[in-house]
C-alpha cells in the first residue's frame, strides 16, 4: 500500500467516525424533542382522529374545538394565572431573602455563623418528600392551608440560593469597597441595596431562573395544600383531568403544550444563562 492510499483510508475512517458521531447526536435530539412536537400535533386532533389507528403526523383541524373543550374541562387560564403569580412573587421574594442571607454569611462575622452554614448545607441533602409532613403541619398550624402563600413562601429561603449568592459575594464584591462605603457613613441597608445588589446581578439572574422554573413546575406541595379548584396551579389542573371519563385528550394536549410554552420561551431567551445556572453546582 502506498502512502497516499494509507492516508486515504485513514481519512475515510475519520470521516466515517465523524458521520456516526453526528448521526448519534442528531438522533438524540430527535428523541429529546419528539414528545414536545407530538403533543403539539395531538393538540390539533380530537378523539376520533387520534383513535383511528396508525401514525398520523399531519396537523389536524380541531384546534379551535380543542380550545373550547379545554376551557370546558378546566379553568385553564386561572390555573395559568395562579402558576404565574406564585412563580413570579415567589421568585422576587426569594431574591431578596437569599441575597440578604448570602451577603450576611459572606461578609459579617458573628457567633454561630459556621454552624448556620453547616446546617444549611446539610439540609440540602434531606429528600423533599420527607419534609412533606412537617411542611403540611406547619402550614395548617399557621392557618395557611389552601392559600398561595403556602406554596411559595416556604421556598423563598432556599439553601441552594443562599449558598449561590454567598459564593458570588465572595467572588465579586471587594471587601475594600464595603469598608470605604462604611467610612463614608453609608448605613448597612444602603450598602446592601446600592453597592452589593448591583454587583450581584449575574448571580441574581441565575437564582431567578432556578427559582422560577422550580415554582412553575412544582406539583407535590400544591397537591398537598391547595384543594379548592380556583386556587389550583396549572400542573395540578392538567393532572386532575386524568380522572374525567372520556377525557378529550386533544384538548388536554393543547393545555399541556400551552403550559410548557412560557418556560420554553424563557429558555430560548436565556438558555446560556439557564444551563450554567442550573448546573452551577457541578463546576467548582
Amino acid at each position: 500500500m502506498t502512502h497516499a492510499q494509507a492516508t486515504f483510508i485513514v481519512n475515510l475512517y475519520h470521516k466515517a467516525g465523524k458521520g456516526i458521531r453526528n448521526v448519534i447526536l442528531l438522533l438524540f435530539v430527535l428523541i429529546t424533542i419528539f414528545p414536545f412536537i407530538w403533543s403539539a400535533i395531538l393538540a390539533t386532533h380530537d378523539r376520533t382522529t387520534m383513535f383511528s389507528g396508525g401514525i398520523d403526523f399531519n396537523i389536524g383541524d380541531k384546534l379551535t374545538q380543542n380550545y373550547q373543550d379545554l376551557l370546558k374541562i378546566m379553568d385553564f387560564w386561572s390555573g395559568m394565572a395562579n402558576s404565574f403569580s406564585i412563580a413570579f412573587v415567589g421568585t422576587a421574594v426569594s431574591l431578596v431573602f437569599c441575597s440578604m442571607a448570602g451577603y450576611a454569611l459572606a461578609t459579617f462575622k458573628f457567633k454561630g455563623k459556621n454552624a448556620i452554614f453547616g446546617i444549611m448545607i446539610a439540609s440540602m441533602m434531606i429528600p423533599p418528600v420527607l419534609t412533606l409532613i412537617p411542611y403540611y403541619m406547619v402550614i395548617s398550624t399557621l392557618g395557611l392551608a389552601n392559600t398561595h402563600l403556602a406554596v411559595w413562601l416556604p421556598f423563598t429561603i432556599n439553601p441552594f440560593g443562599i449558598f449561590l449568592i454567598r459564593q458570588y459575594v465572595v467572588a465579586s464584591v471587594p471587601k475594600d469597597l464595603l469598608e470605604a462605603s462604611k467610612l463614608d457613613g453609608a448605613s448597612e441597608l444602603r450598602i446592601y441595596w446600592n453597592i452589593v445588589l448591583p454587583l450581584l446581578r449575574p448571580g441574581l439572574a441565575t437564582l431567578a431562573i432556578v427559582q422560577f422554573v422550580f415554582l412553575w413546575n412544582n406539583f407535590l406541595q400544591p397537591l398537598v395544600v391547595l384543594n379548592s379548584p380556583d386556587k389550583m396551579v396549572i400542573t395540578q389542573m392538567l393532572r386532575s383531568v386524568q380522572g374525567v371519563p372520556n377525557t378529550p385528550w386533544g384538548a388536554v394536549m393543547l393545555g399541556t403544550t400551552i403550559s410548557i410554552l412560557p418556560l420554553i420561551a424563557l429558555y430560548m431567551f436565556a438558555s446560556r444563562q439557564m444551563i450554567s445556572g442550573l448546573t452551577s453546582g457541578a463546576v467548582k
Partner: protein
Amino acid sequence: MVYLSFHTWNPVEGLSSMQFVGFENYALSLTDPTLWQTLWNTLVMAVLSGVPQHLIALPLAYFLIMMAARMRHWLTTAYFLPYITSTVSVSMIFYVMFSKDSGIINAILAYLADAGWSSWLFGGLSSVLPLGWVQENGLIRYSVSFVVWWKYVGFNTVIYTAGLATINHDLYEAATIDGANSWQRFRHISLPLLKPFIFFGVTLTIIGNMNLFDEPYVLTVGGQFAQTAGKTISNYLYQIAWEWLDMGSAAAVSWILFIIIGIFTSVYFWFFGRQGLGGE
C-alpha cells in the same frame, strides 16, 4: 415529626385528636408488605433509569465536546429541554404516547411488526400488541424508568460537557502524539478527570430517584393502574398521609425512609466520596 410518629393523628380533626400509641406506627409500618414492595419498586426504578442516564450521557458529552461551538450550543439547548419542563406536563404527554389503543408507541411497534423490511426483527411483537405500557404490572417500571431517563439524561450530558470543557486540551494532544486512540484518550484522560463531575451527577441522580413521585403518580393515574409495580415509596407515603389521613404512620414511614436513605448515602460517600470530592 419524631413526636408525631408515636401518635395517631387525623389532620381533619385538628391537633387535639392526637393520641399516643408508642411504637405501634413503626410496628405496623415495618410489617406492612406494601412498604417493602414500594421500597423495592423505588430501588428498581432508580437503577433502571439512573444507570442508563450516566452510561448514555458520558459518551454523548464526549461527542458533543468535539462539535463546533455554535452547533454544540443548539444541541445542548435541545438536550436540556426536558429538564426544564414540568414533570407533570411531560408525564401527561408520555401517558398519551403510552396509551394502549391510540398511543404512538404501540402504533410504531405495530407498523414495524407489519412492514416488510422490519418484520424479521419485530414480527414477534404482533401477537402481544397492543401493550398496556402503563397498565400492566410487568411493563410499568420500564415505562416509568424510560420517562425518568428521558427527562434527566440531557441534564447529565450538560454536566459532563461542562466537565470535559475544563480539561486542558494539551493533554489530549500529548496523548495523541504518544499514539493513543480516541477510546484510550477517553478512558485514560477524560474519565479520571471527570470523577468529581460523575460524583456530582450520580449523587443528584440517587437523591432524585429515591424521591420519585410525579412521574409514577401521573403515569399510573395516582396509582389506579398497576397497583403493585408502579408505586414508589413517595407515592405510598402520600397515599398513607393524604388519602388515608393516617399522619402518624406516614411520619413513621418517613423516618424509616430517612434512615434507609441515610445508610445508602453514607455507604456511597464512604466508597466514592474521597475520589469524588477530590480530597486526599
